[in-house]
């Protein structure tokens, strides 16, 4: 595969891997997506987060040209999603969210068939992926557990090293060990300059692998954030312990302190922005213990967007 030289990769003319412009797809029974605009750059892992039924699968199936938008344009690698669909799919690996396999075939036959249709997939690569995920290729699909079926789907998506991986809930049904393996495979793909678009309703999963997160709710894109920015912008949580009852008003006057709860000899502070002023002042005071922690991404999203996965 051709490696893009660094000076080219930063050129402004470079096409994003995925570009959705004002895409609308509504269903008669409700659901779908409305006025979706989104771009994904080469080499990034984009996490598409939202509760079930929010429009994640609709968006993904639009990219694959399985369904067509009512309005808006969809381009992948600069190509038209519908007109150039075959050329696009040559470069895309796709794991459906509601994965169904050919029940009458063995895992080997399913993967052999798909590898043949995909073209230039080395069978050795399929075997290597299967081994990495601990998948027995000999067994008929109908005898496989949910997790093993999911592995077949993941191998099918990854084989042939496609430039873009579109994965709908990739780790659902997998045990934690295999989940980590999959995350590593995705990071490795991104490390090679390939692009990953993955959907999930589980925030911690997205947080673990994604560079950017898009939050979709009721068919509309509510927010797109870099995970790193989200972390940086976030308030830090400082827990301080004293050998006497702390002076709450004095703590609230420290720079950046937004909230302060006092219980017994302990104070819990929320500090935004630069920490040095507040931490310096506390350290110079007569405290006995001090800890600073970052909120989890889960807490951040809950704070910023009122995100509730059950909704």
């Amino acid at each position: 595969m051709l490696q893009t030289a660094p000076h080219q990769s930063s050129a402004p003319t470079r096409e994003p891997v995925v570009r959705l412009e004002a895409v609308t797809k509504l269903y008669r029974g409700g659901g779908g997506v409305r006025d979706l605009t989104l771009t994904i750059e080469p080499g990034e892992i984009f996490g598409f987060l939202g509760p079930n039924g929010a429009g994640k699968t609709t968006t993904i199936r639009l990219l694959l040209d399985l369904i067509r938008p009512s309005q808006g344009t969809i381009r992948l690698f600069g190509l038209d999603a519908r007109r150039d669909s075959v050329a696009i799919r040559r470069r895309v690996g796709y794991l459906p969210g509601d994965l169904a396999l050919y029940e009458r075939l063995s895992a080997r036959d399913v993967l052999g068939h798909l590898a043949h249709l995909r073209g230039d997939v080395a069978w050795a690569e399929v075997l290597a992926l299967a081994e990495q995920l601990d998948l027995d290729l000999q067994r008929p699909i109908r005898t496989l557990s949910r997790g093993n079926r999911q592995k077949v789907g993941i191998v099918a998506a990854l084989m042939g090293r496609p430039d873009l991986l579109v994965l709908d809930e990739p780790t659902s049904g997998l045990d934690p060990l295999i989940q980590r393996q999959v995350h590593e495979l995705l990071r490795a793909a991104a490390g090679e300059g390939r692009t990953v678009f993955l959907s999930s309703h589980i925030l911690s999963e997205v947080a673990e692998v994604a560079d950017r997160v898009g939050l979709i709710r009721a068919g509309e894109l509510a927010a797109v954030e870099r995970v790193a920015d989200l972390r940086q912008r976030a308030a830090h949580l400082i827990d301080v312990r004293y050998d006497h009852e702390p002076d709450r008003d004095a703590l609230l006057r420290l720079p950046g302190v937004q909230r302060c709860d006092v219980s017994g000899h302990e104070a819990h502070l929320e500090v935004a922005g630069d920490l040095r002023g507040a931490v310096g002042a506390i350290a110079a005071s007569d405290m006995t213990d001090l800890s600073v922690r970052e909120p989890t991404l889960e807490e951040l999203f809950l704070a910023f967007y009122d995100y509730d996965p059950s909704r």
Partner: protein
């Protein structure tokens, strides 16, 4: 020492056509066995009827409409017996039933079983999916037709049943083309709607309508003008066993089949596929 055969050799199921045939393997074997068995039973009974004058008397005593519907002329000769017992409706309609049931499933079934996402994640056009699935139907229906031809043409003489190869081949080709046309229609309705049950229902109704219009038109005069709309009229009602090949009529049915296939391709390409 020979190297061990790796259990992890690459699969032999490669193309869409190969997979469709592999998935239908047991179905094909079952239908072939059933049809062969039916032909063998019919052949085994023939020596009892062959040249038996009392059968001729019995049949001549039947009312004329009945003789016409079941094509009962010269029942005690080989050609007459085959025409009545095998080709008047059982064999062509069974072959057609197989083609319709499978054809309706080929494209629509993949959507109903939700495997279509996986298939169309690969770089194949929807047109190629329709074409390759249809090729599987063609291979399957042809295999069954060839089996019938062999059983009747090769084993028949062992039971004193002699019909010319031309007549037999014309009757087999007529059945084959009728089955293929409606199998293709089933595939097309399935491709256009994504609903296998609907495709089976609609297509089976049209098969029966086609058969009934052509058959009853021999008795009911007002059906005569419309019988040319029936594909049965152009394939089986013209007595291929007795009159041989009718190239223009076969060409007409082949063209209609081609139109069904074009419609399938067009309709499948333009719609949203179900989740």
């Amino acid at each position: 020492m020979t190297p061990p055969v790796s259990p992890l050799n690459e699969s032999r199921v490669r193309s869409i056509t190969a997979r469709a045939l592999r998935e239908q393997r047991s179905g094909l074997v079952g239908w072939a066995s059933g049809l062969v068995l039916f032909c063998l039973v019919m052949l085994a009974v023939y020596p009892t009827i062959h040249g038996n004058a009392s059968f001729s008397d019995l049949i001549n005593a039947y009312p004329e409409p009945l003789r016409k519907i079941f094509q009962l002329e010269d029942y005690t000769t080989g050609a007459g017996y085959l025409r009545t017992e095998v080709f008047s409706f059982v064999l062509p309609l069974l072959l057609t039933l197989f083609a319709v049931l499978w054809g309706s499933d080929l494209v629509a079934g993949e959507e109903e079983r939700r495997t279509v996402d996986l298939l169309l994640a690969t770089p194949v056009s929807r047109g190629r999916v329709v074409r390759d699935k249809w090729l599987a139907l063609l291979v399957g229906v042809t295999a069954l037709a060839v089996a019938m031809e062999i059983v009747l043409g090769v084993i028949g003489p062992l039971f004193e049943l002699h019909v010319g190869w031309v007549g037999l081949s014309a009757a087999i080709v007529g059945s084959w083309l009728f089955a293929l046309a409606f199998g293709t229609l089933g595939l097309a309705v399935g491709a256009a709607t994504g609903r296998r049950g609907l495709a089976r229902g609609v297509t089976t109704s049209l098969v029966l309508a086609s058969y009934l219009v052509a058959t009853l038109a021999t008795l009911v005069s007002w059906l005569r003008p419309v019988r040319n709309l029936s594909l049965w009229q152009h394939t089986m009602a013209i007595d291929p066993l007795g009159t041989g090949f009718h190239a223009e009529r076969l060409a007409l049915v082949a063209v209609v089949t081609g139109l069904f296939l074009l419609w399938a391709t067009w309709a499948y390409d333009r719609r949203d596929l179900a989740t």
